[in-house]
């Protein structure tokens, strides 16, 4: 419960407001310097790999085989070359279709379910919640064979539809996340609307949805990231159909297509990371709140 409140209030801002509780000015300052030094050292460790990827993406393919870390010349054309040497544009398009449709479908189906679980009282509600949590926690490998067979019989293996369509009936993790948030909206809002004669559907769409925008944003981002990064799913269903690959599968095969062109592999890696990072910076606040929400149990 506590973590929910933090998330909703935007707990991260409070980091800077927190008063110091340490006394003794001199020690305080020394300790502060030590702590900042550790933080800066860790920054180098955590950012290092990202910086090196970006640097390598600009190198000539010859230089990637040397141990020089800084590009001799900046080869911007590597990024164009990625699209020439592999059907990267097709993969990007497939990833986008997968991510956008899955996210949209997930919202359509998961929000009403989360609403029913969080804001309506009915028999069996706790049982259903337990089922949702169980679905969320079990490894997908456990059910994958029969599900694969169903899609094979529908003739949809080889495409991304087996990964997109199930979202029309809800995604357990998203339902759970949205429910955690919807619990924090005071019941009085619904009651007031009910007194004014609003139907349950109107309350959900007109009152609760606008208030739940941050949670909807965070859940959508989770879904987008998950689908964009997903490797097991697209590999399982589309591995024999390179024209239906996503960037994750394509990127994994990239090294095989181009044996030692690390510069192109890294340029492709940068291109795959870019949308995720850009999206994150646009919606950082909503996302951090969303991550915080996952830290609570039903």
């Amino acid at each position: 419960m506590t973590a929910v409140e933090v998330g909703v209030r935007g707990g991260t801002e409070r980091l800077d407001e927190r008063p110091s509780r340490r006394r003794g000015r001199r020690n305080d300052r020394l300790l502060g310097i030590a702590e900042h030094s550790v933080a800066i050292l860790l920054t180098a460790v955590f950012l290092g790999p990202i910086v090196l990827i970006v640097l390598t993406a600009f190198m000539s393919s010859g230089q990637t085989l040397t141990s020089d870390l800084w590009p001799h010349e900046w080869h911007l054309s590597n990024f164009r070359q990625v699209f020439v040497e592999a059907p990267f544009l097709t993969w990007l398009k497939n990833s986008l279709v997968y991510s956008v449709l899955a996210t949209g479908f997930m919202l359509l189906s998961s929000f009403p379910a989360a609403y029913a679980l969080a804001r309506l009282k009915w028999r069996g509600r706790n049982l259903v919640l337990l089922a949702v949590i169980t679905m969320m926690l079990l490894p997908p490998q456990v059910t994958v064979v029969p599900v694969y067979r169903m899609w094979a019989e529908l003739g949809l293996t080889g495409t991304l539809w087996p990964l997109i369509l199930p979202n029309l009936v809800g995604d357990a993790f998203s339902i759970f996340l949205l429910r955690q948030f919807l619990l924090t909206i005071p019941q009085e809002y619904s009651d007031a609307a009910r007194v004014d004669g609003a139907s349950e559907l109107q309350i959900m769409l007109r009152v609760i949805v606008p208030m739940a925008k941050p949670a909807i944003a965070a859940t959508s981002m989770f879904m987008f990231f998950f689908t964009w990064n997903d490797y097991f799913g697209p590999l399982l269903y589309t591995s024999d159909e390179p024209s239906n690959w996503t960037v994750a599968v394509g990127l994994a095969s990239f090294r095989g297509l181009h044996h030692v062109q690390w510069n192109l592999v890294m340029a492709a890696t940068v291109l795959v990371m870019l949308p995720v990072v850009v999206l994150f910076f646009f919606a950082q606040k909503a996302f951090v709140e969303g991550v915080t929400l996952t830290g609570v149990k039903g």
Partner: protein, 299 residues
């Protein structure tokens, strides 16, 4: 309840039915082309006694549960703790430590394989500067898993954010009282921070175990890259678990048996075993944490 209707359909079609079907298939020989044929316990017997890789895969996956999950948790907790103490540039450091968690696993794994490349990778280059001859990393059976563990710790940002929020929620009065009573930092951590964080720690540990049991992408990509083979399609077979089976995780072996070799009945038996293991782990953790973190965790 109309609002739950789509979910109910999904629950039956994508969960209850497949779960039952998986158990049934696990007693059959099934290759997707012809209907399943009942073979009794043969799949399970093969798993236990004859499969040269089943125990290796199980051991590797347990390695990730036992070492990577705690390593990610501990590093996330330490860094979150550090962040609560940083006065200047807090939001900058927070973003920096979180950023790697955003890197798509395939991309991050490729990047690490490149950095840990024995001949020209940045890690061995740096080691060379201080006069150390770097090891083979992902091509060394003893070091391949630790490199993947490093990759996991590098991407601990999602857990860190959860811990950070929970740390900031610990009532400051408790620390002040402890200060007055003369409790040192270690005692404060043990008696104030840990108990306050226990629900969040438990959640992170359970999802961490589940993630470790599913560990697939990084192991698949890393082994393929280190062995120099393409990953997708039939390409996995030759590089599977390279080097020397060190990165052959349970889900990888399940995928190989089910979807490369089309022993789907056998894959289902492996799935049932994975299901049992997941349930054992989760209930064990719930039980244990109830005894030493306080019963409120079981709410």
């Amino acid at each position: 309840m109309l609002l739950m209707a789509p979910w109910a359909i999904g629950f039956v079609v994508f969960f209850v039915y497949p779960l039952i079907a998986t158990v049934w298939y696990s007693f059959t020989r099934f290759d997707l082309l012809s209907p399943p044929k009942f073979v009794g316990l043969r799949n399970y017997r093969y798993f236990l006694f004859d499969d040269p890789n089943s125990w290796k895969a199980l051991r590797n996956t347990f390695w990730f549960v036992v070492f990577m999950m705690p390593a990610r948790l501990v590093s996330a907790l330490l860094i979150a703790q550090l962040l609560t103490r940083i006065r200047r540039g807090g939001s900058f450091f927070r973003t920096v430590f979180f950023l790697p968690a955003l890197a798509p696993p395939v991309a991050a794994t490729i990047a690490f394989a490149f950095l840990f490349n024995p001949a020209t990778g940045a890690v061995n280059t740096l080691l060379g500067w201080i006069g150390v001859e770097g090891p083979l990393w992902l091509s060394d059976p003893a070091l391949a898993k630790p490199v993947l563990l490093t990759l996991g710790v590098w991407g601990m940002g999602d857990i860190m954010i959860i811990f950070l929020a929970a740390l900031l929620d610990v009532p400051i009065e408790q620390y002040e009282a402890a200060d007055l009573d003369g409790a040192g930092p270690v005692q404060q951590f043990r008696y104030i921070t840990l108990p306050n964080l226990s629900p969040v720690l438990l959640f992170a540990a359970i999802t961490g175990v589940i993630d470790a049991l599913q560990y697939f992408t990084q192991a698949a990509v890393a082994s393929a890259l280190a062995s120099g083979v393409a990953t997708t399609g039939g390409g996995t077979a030759s590089s599977l678990g390279y080097p020397d089976g060190a990165t052959l995780t349970y889900p990888l072996w399940l995928y190989q048996m089910g979807y490369q070799n089309f022993y789907l009945g056998y894959a289902c038996a492996m799935a049932v075993i994975l299901l049992v293991i997941s349930l054992v782990f989760v209930s064990f953790m719930l039980r244990r944490s109830a005894s030493f973190l306080g019963t409120e965790d079981l709410r």
